[in-house]
């Protein structure tokens, strides 16, 4: 499986391509986790994320390797945004290309579960509108 991982402070592009190969790919599953407008019941304007960078990337690669043994896929692109992510924007993107849909959908769902257990990335703090403006 072709793997591309980015951990970046840039906004995640609207339609990152998962290295899709013409004719071989029958299924293309994508997921974006977006920052919601409230955290613990309080309105927020942004979340700030922090990562242990080399380990976060290594863990993601390890998890993808493990999962792709059970769910054979052709390509996976992961983008995790760090730093300040405004409400409505994506903090995480995963795009998976596979021959068949079951593998692609399972890889996306299980990767997200594992990300939230094992990958050293943290929501560091919530920013109010005033804090976001001042940022």
């Amino acid at each position: 499986m072709k793997i591309e991982i980015q951990i970046t402070t840039d906004a995640i592009a609207e339609n990152a391509q998962a290295g899709v190969q013409h004719g071989e790919v029958g299924a293309w599953a994508e997921f974006r986790g977006l920052v919601r407008g409230e955290e613990d019941g309080q309105p927020i304007a942004a979340l700030e994320y922090e990562a242990y960078l080399p380990m976060a990337e290594r863990e993601m690669r390890r998890i993808l390797g493990e999962l792709s043994a059970r769910h054979p896929c052709l390509a996976a692109t992961i983008i995790h945004r760090i730093g300040v992510v405004p409400v409505g924007e994506a903090a995480i993107y995963i795009g998976v290309a596979a021959r068949h849909r079951a593998a692609a959908l399972a890889l996306v769902a299980e990767f997200m579960d594992r990300l939230k257990q094992d990958v050293p990335i943290w929501k560091r703090r919530a920013l109010t509108a005033a804090e976001l403006k001042a940022n």
Binding site: Y52, M55, Q117
Partner: protein
């Protein structure tokens, strides 16, 4: 040994990274030294996982002064 703190552990210790000479220690020994220097870490101990050189360690792991050790509190990415 380079020791890295993340997320709220940075607030607890007041720093992101320290360099210490501990010799060879196991997880219990490492925690003992860290908690004696940063008592606020005590209450996070049960929820924190240890990583050595960018990988989670097994319970029996040893840490030496050449290692980069990270204290990983519960993660919240995505």
């Amino acid at each position: 040994m380079k020791i890295l703190f993340f997320a709220h552990l940075r607030d607890a210790t007041g720093c992101a990274e320290v360099e210490r000479t501990f010799g060879v220690v196991d997880a219990a020994g490492l925690w003992q030294k860290l908690i004696s220097e940063f008592p606020a870490l005590e209450k996070s101990r049960a929820s924190v996982r240890l990583a050595r050189n960018g990988e989670y360690v097994d319970p029996g792991a040893q840490f030496s002064d050449a290692d980069e050790v990270a204290l990983i509190p519960p993660v919240s990415g995505g």
